[in-house]
Amino acid sequence: MPITITMPALSPTMTEGKLAKWLKQAGDKVAPGDVIAEIETDKATMEVEAVDEGVLDQILVQAGTEHVAVNSPIAVLRGEGEAPGAKPAPAAVPAPATTVSPQASRSAPAAPPAAVAAPSHGGDRVFASPLARRMAAQAGIDLAGLRGSGPQGRIVKHDVEAAIAGGKAAPKAAPAAAATLPGAPAPTAPIVPTAGFPPFELVPATTMRKTIARRLTEAKQTIPHFYLSIDCEIDKLLSLRKELNASDEKLKISVNDMIVKASAIALMRVPAANAAWTEEGMRLYKSADISVAVATDGGLITPIVRGAEGKGLAKIAAETKDLAARARAGKLKLDEFQGGTFSISNLGMYGIRAFSAVINPPQGAILAVGAGEQRPVVKAGALAIATVVTLTLSSDHRVVDGAVGAEFLKALKALIEDPMTMLL
């Protein structure tokens, strides 16, 4: 009996995703656990594993298709020996996700592939007349960038005409470029001439980039940020790190790993800082799940060292290294970057002395770590040299008050400047 493979919900809030790649082709044998496809959500690339044995009979949604609704059929699996092209069983294979969100169950369970491929602006719906949609598509204008002048802000013909006239888009630029040389590869990102600006390359935003844009905008617009900075001497910490790394060849603990550990302990000592604002109330987390910001080609992602307060430095170092590597490869699992109670962002390796970071919602605070550098310090009335790092805490004032933030930094400074206490 053929089995329909449907678009899995990889997170409780996922309603659609991009079918990035098929790793099995029609006719390939698959066994449970085989990775058959890769799906790009707004957060990461995820693998779809087969749960049944059989032969991949038909691929219903081609690789590269965006906005594939959760639970819509993407492929058909037939048992070995079954005739190809048979009608799939009506009952769909349960999606690998363990939780099914209300959103997911609301989406059409049996939407035909054509329907899911229809263009929809993921997230907020764009209201536009059919004529405006078509004219915008013909002119290569993104409706999301237009202001609607129609009833209730609906984008109408006039708005698209105004956008074309105003040079907001470059009608004909792309087709002209494509038509110059038959057989020449079409440029992926056309060079767009625009009135008042030098020529630029318009790079389509990835799902991840759009998510970053949305979340950071939300953070800066809705969270009342405030910033506290403190200088910590890290000469002791550096020598401890050297000793520890020398004790085992395989061990490679970074300064950042030690700050992760110190932050986790400090959060346990000042639990009011390990908090998040929600409409229902203030969450005071019982463990310090530290999100470590990792820069990737596609943008920033924050894999989590869970329960860092209880993990040894060696474990934190190993975990962080593994998470960072997989983050850069876009292979993080959902639970490895969703959640977290506190974030750390480190730009010390670029020589940045101090900076303020944007809070990673729905968390309550983020620590920005600058470069450790030798600075003149005054000790007992005399000038001395110490290696100093500037830490800047961005806090959500709705849940972390100034005094709480200051207490946390004080606790953190004590741990960093006397790192042996971390090992207690």
Binding site: S129, P130, L131, M135, P151, V156
Partner: protein, 467 residues
């Protein structure tokens, strides 16, 4: 002691009374000044009573063709007085209805001749005597229009009629000359022809119903001529000579040839002029009048603060529904309502209630092409529609004009039974800016005349199913 109002509307026609109702809904003290009948020409001497007369003509026509439907009606007798009486009753009922609406919305009605008396002031007089002095924060001029009179061809109300006399005939003219083949002229031509008069139409343009699509004009002419109407296009009435009970008209035809047409009565329907006189425009500085119409911007503002003008007074199309819509826009503009939109002239439908009916919205095929667009044109004839055949109404056509590039519905043009009730489907489509794709995906009920609207769209893309 002057009465103070938030808004005074000068003229109680469809534009004026609707503006007053909308203003009352938004709150405030509102007055309407009307010199004759609430409801204006439309309700009392225009759209409505002619529809009543044309309905009589239609029923007569059906009775005369009873045989086609399998029965015989004998002894059909036209009682012109009763037809007129019914028409007047219809108007009276609606006139009472508007009075009731004014009362319901607590709108003060001043029955008299109103004129501006300086900015924000309206003086009302009845029979030459002052009746009331009104002070208003805002004034909307909605004084309408009247039939245009050509020099030397002035109506006398006896042998040479305007719409007004044509509406209340006491004797049935045996022969009738209609000068002008716009909506008003053609509707009367159709009515009197159905009642048995010998009708001749003289039109200065090269076709009847000159604002309609050329193809529709041609079909209408063919149909009228089949009914026995004589039609002269590109023809001009040079002189009218009245005898005791008929009129001899000198008509110059297209080629320069002159003929004489003798008819019992003449109906002059050669357009209308705005009622810009005696309304005190000279008492406020800054109102511009062009070709008998008050000039306004898209918000119906005259340029004088607090002074607006709407409807026939501000120019074509001279249609009640356009006036009503303008009334609402002007009032909402005054009220400062956000997100207000000016009217899109391309989306104002027009209906002519001759037999066969004519209705249209948007650009004609020729105008669409003249605008430089590549167009796709769809046509579907009544003879291909099941409901039309069942009704015995196989004459007519529905035509659609699309922009070939964008699929925008540029215009729709219809001729045939009940098309005046169909056109709104395309008007909604145009207002919502649908493309051919949306219209194709719309399910039209079967069996209805409206299916032809679907087929016409399909035909524009060579997909028509039933023809």
């Amino acid at each position: 002691m002057a009465d103070h109002f938030d808004l005074v509307v000068l003229g109680g026609g469809p534009g004026g009374y609707v503006a007053a109702i909308r203003a009352a809904q938004l709150g405030g003290k509102i007055a309407v000044v009307e010199r004759e009948h609430l409801g204006g020409i439309c309700l009392n001497w225009g759209c409505i009573p002619t529809k009543a007369l044309l309905r009589s003509a239609e029923v007569l026509h059906l009775a005369q063709h009873a045989k086609d439907f399998g029965f015989t009606v004998e002894g059909i007798k036209v009682d012109l007085a009763k037809m007129v009486e019914r028409s007047r009753k219809v108007s009276a009922q609606l006139n009472a209805g508007v009075k009731h609406l004014m009362k319901k919305h607590k709108i003060a009605v001043f029955e008299g001749h109103g004129r501006l008396d300086g900015p924000g002031k309206v003086a009302v007089a009845k029979d030459g005597k002052p009746l009331a002095d009104l002070v208003a924060k805002n004034v909307i001029l909605a004084t309408g229009a009247r039939a245009r009179a050509l020099p030397g061809l002035e109506p006398d109300g006896k042998l040479i009629w305007t719409y007004k006399e044509a509406m209340v005939p006491t004797v049935m003219p045996k022969s009738l000359l209609v000068v002008g083949s716009g909506a008003i002229g053609i509707e009367f031509a159709s009515f009197y022809r159905d009642l048995g008069a010998s009708v001749t139409v003289v039109e200065v343009m090269d076709r009847v119903l000159p604002v309609e699509d050329e193809e529709i004009s041609a079909l209408a002419r063919k149909s009228f001529e089949k009914q026995g109407m004589k039609i002269h296009t590109s023809a001009t009435v040079k002189a009218l000579r009245k005898s005791s009970d008929n009129v001899a008209a000198t008509v110059e035809l297209g080629g320069g040839k002159t003929i004489e047409i003798v008819a019992d009565r003449v109906i002059m329907a050669v357009g209308i002029v705005g009622n810009v006189e005696n309304i005190g425009l000279e008492t406020v500085k800054g109102v511009k009048v062009e070709k008998t119409h008050v000039v306004t911007n898209e918000w119906l503002e005259t340029g004088v603060p607090g002074l607006y003008a709407i409807g026939d007074l501000v120019g074509p199309p001279w249609l009640a529904h356009k006036a009503m819509h303008e009334g609402v826009i002007a009032v909402e503009r005054i009220a400062g309502i956000k997100g207000l939109h000016p009217m899109n002239a391309a989306n104002i439908p027009g209906c002519t209630y001759c037999r066969p009916q004519v209705a249209s919205v948007g650009l004609s095929e020729a105008k669409a092409k003249a605008s430089g667009r590549q167009v796709k044109v769809g046509k579907f004839p009544f003879v291909g529609n099941g409901k039309a055949i069942a009704l015995g109404e196989t004459e007519g056509m529905i035509k659609t004009v699309f922009d070939a590039k964008t699929g925008e519905l540029l215009g729709a043009h219809m001729i045939g039974a009940e098309v005046t009730e169909l056109i709104q489907g395309y008007v909604v489509a145009k207002s919502l800016e649908t493309t051919e794709a949306d219209l194709m995906h719309t399910v039209f009920p079967h069996p209805t005349l409206s299916e032809m609207m679907h087929e016409s769209v399909l035909d524009a893309y060579a997909k028509a199913l039933h023809f």
